[in-house]
Amino acid sequence: MFELLSRTLRYVFILLIYYFLYNFLKIMVADLRREKSQPKETGFILQDEDGNSFTLYEINTIGRAEDADIVIDDPFISSKHALIFKRGSKLLIQDLHSTNGTYLNNKKVTRPLRLKENDEITMGAKKFRFLRGEAVGATDGIDLQ
């Protein structure tokens, strides 16, 4: 009797143990998804000549298009003009085949280039400065947008 019961129950136990695991894996997947959907700030910002600043995340597209991460309304800027992205601990800038080109410290960007603090980025007629987030009031840009 005990033998029969035990032989049957072993499948139940294994089912329950795996159901437990399945639940936890669901939580794990939800965690990972949440982490992905929240873009991480890199601690750096772009500041234009008027003092507006844009927070830089791990991937940012810059352009005139409404779905760009940083939207700049300027006739000389292409709809998807440039990309600033993080690789390792560094931020790099890449031109996205824009009509008028992207310039880093007055040199044309033809391949991904590393950004350093105080670099000057020129896109169309606009100039931006690449700064550390703490160097300026952290909430500056948010009020203006």
Binding site: S6, R7, L9, F13, I17, N23, M28
Partner: protein, 410 residues
């Protein structure tokens, strides 16, 4: 910090319910094992369930920002461990149940303390002194049990100070490396050498290995220096060879690992019985109560995994490994979430201790690596291991709450 999402909360409640259900089913089954109905396992399982439910809801009420998964995972593992103990030796299971209760209370206390009190300015020297003192105490006052002199014997229970030393050692490592570099290399490595030396003197070589690899991992995590990592691995290899030459019981263990079939009734006996048990288990196991754990030596402590494997099968045992993996995953996640270097490294080294310990003992009983006598956290019979595992999880939980408060280096 937002409260738990309702969906996640319902998953946690479901997991608790599954744990309780497994316990009840197993204990009802075990109650019929001797033919007539004997309710002892059932009482034990009910007490366990009460403690677990109180623990889960109380900690969630008092610490809304805690990580509930830690407590649920360790309850699940303890539940499986208790089932095995009730099956093998009901008396030790009852004592284990008391340790579980004490462990839960201390989990609660250490969560609270580490949330409020661990402050950065204690200094690594104090942690070092505490670790060294703990490890030295059994050499002076201790008794020799299971081939290593690492136990303090009080009249009604014996205590293994090296379990507590794991926590102080973790804090020592975190404090010494909190600036992400080794400030006084000579002092730092000297201190680690003293600690390893004390463990070797107590002949607790499994423990020495745990401490060594944890230290190596944390140094690498803090400094990202490949040269130290490389030297450390070479050092480990050299220490292994020296250990083989000079310690008789290392040689015995290594030989039993390389070829246990050479001396089945003697040196290879433990490992061979463990392998037989696993082979007997197969995919689905023999069924609870139908295996022969009485053939395996040290089955309630070191070899509990083999007994579990025999009765729950390959599927059950691999699921158990995944549960341990999830526990380690939560720990690493906590250490990544906090911005304070000291707490980050402390969380990481507590987690690494867990991870390496689990790997060492499970690897040992399945003959992946030589057998060393460390306990399987939450599952092996043993008060010190149970209580200290709970305390270190409590500290992790406290660190999680501090991460939720946005603690940084300042």
């Amino acid at each position: 910090m937002r409260p738990l999402e309702p969906r996640t909360e319902s998953i946690y409640n479901k997991s608790i319910a599954i744990t309780a259900l497994v316990g009840i089913l197993a204990s009802v089954l075990l109650a019929f094992k001797e033919g007539a109905f004997s309710p002892m396992p059932l009482y034990g399982s009910l007490i366990f369930i009460v403690v677990m439910f109180i623990g889960h809801f109380l900690t969630n009420q008092l610490f809304p920002e805690q990580d509930p998964a830690l407590f649920i995972l360790c309850c699940f593992i303890s539940q499986l461990g208790l089932i095995m103990l009730y099956r093998i030796n009901p008396e030790s299971a009852q004592r284990q149940l008391i340790w579980f209760g004490i462990g839960f209370v201390l989990y609660f206390v250490s969560s609270f303390l580490s949330k409020n009190w661990i402050n950065k300015n204690i200094g690594s020297l104090i942690f070092f002194m505490a670790t060294a003192g703990l490890l030295a105490s059994p050499l002076i006052f201790g008794v020799e049990l299971y081939g290593s002199k690492s136990w303090l014997d009080f009249n009604f229970f014996s205590f293994q100070p090296s379990e507590l030393a794991k926590i102080t050692f973790s804090l020592f490592l975190a404090e010494s490396l909190s600036n992400c570099k080794i400030e006084k290399p000579l002092v730092f490595f000297g201190e680690i050498a003293v600690i390893l030396g004390l463990l070797a003197l107590a002949k607790d070589l499994g423990g020495a290995m745990l401490f060594y690899f944890t230290a190596l991992t944390i140094v690498f995590a803090a400094t990202s220096r490949w040269d130290i990592m490389g030297l450390g691995l070479i050092g480990a290899a050299v220490a292994g060879v020296l250990g083989y030459q000079f310690f008789g019981h290392v040689r015995v263990r290594a030989k039993a690992w390389l070829n246990p079939w050479e001396d089945v009734p003697g040196k290879g006996y433990q490992i061979v019985q463990s392998l037989f048990a696993m082979a007997e288990g197969g995919f689905f196991g023999t069924g609870l109560g139908l295996g022969r754990p009485d053939y395996i030596p040290a089955v309630t402590t070191d070899f509990i995994f083999s007994a579990f494997f025999e009765e729950f099968g390959f599927l059950g045992a691999s699921a158990l490994i995944v549960v341990y993996f999830l526990l380690v995953y939560r720990g690493i996640k906590i250490s990544l979430a906090i911005e304070n270097n000291f707490l980050c490294l402390a969380a990481l080294s507590l987690t690494v201790f867990f991870g390496i310990q689990i790997f060492t003992i499970i690897g040992g009983v399945i003959k992946l690596i030589p057998m060393t006598g460390v306990t399987l956290p939450f599952m092996s019979y043993g008060g010190s291991s149970m209580v200290m595992s709970f305390i270190s999880l409590g500290i992790l939980n406290g660190i999680k709450m501090r991460a939720a408060d946005g603690e940084t280096n300042e």
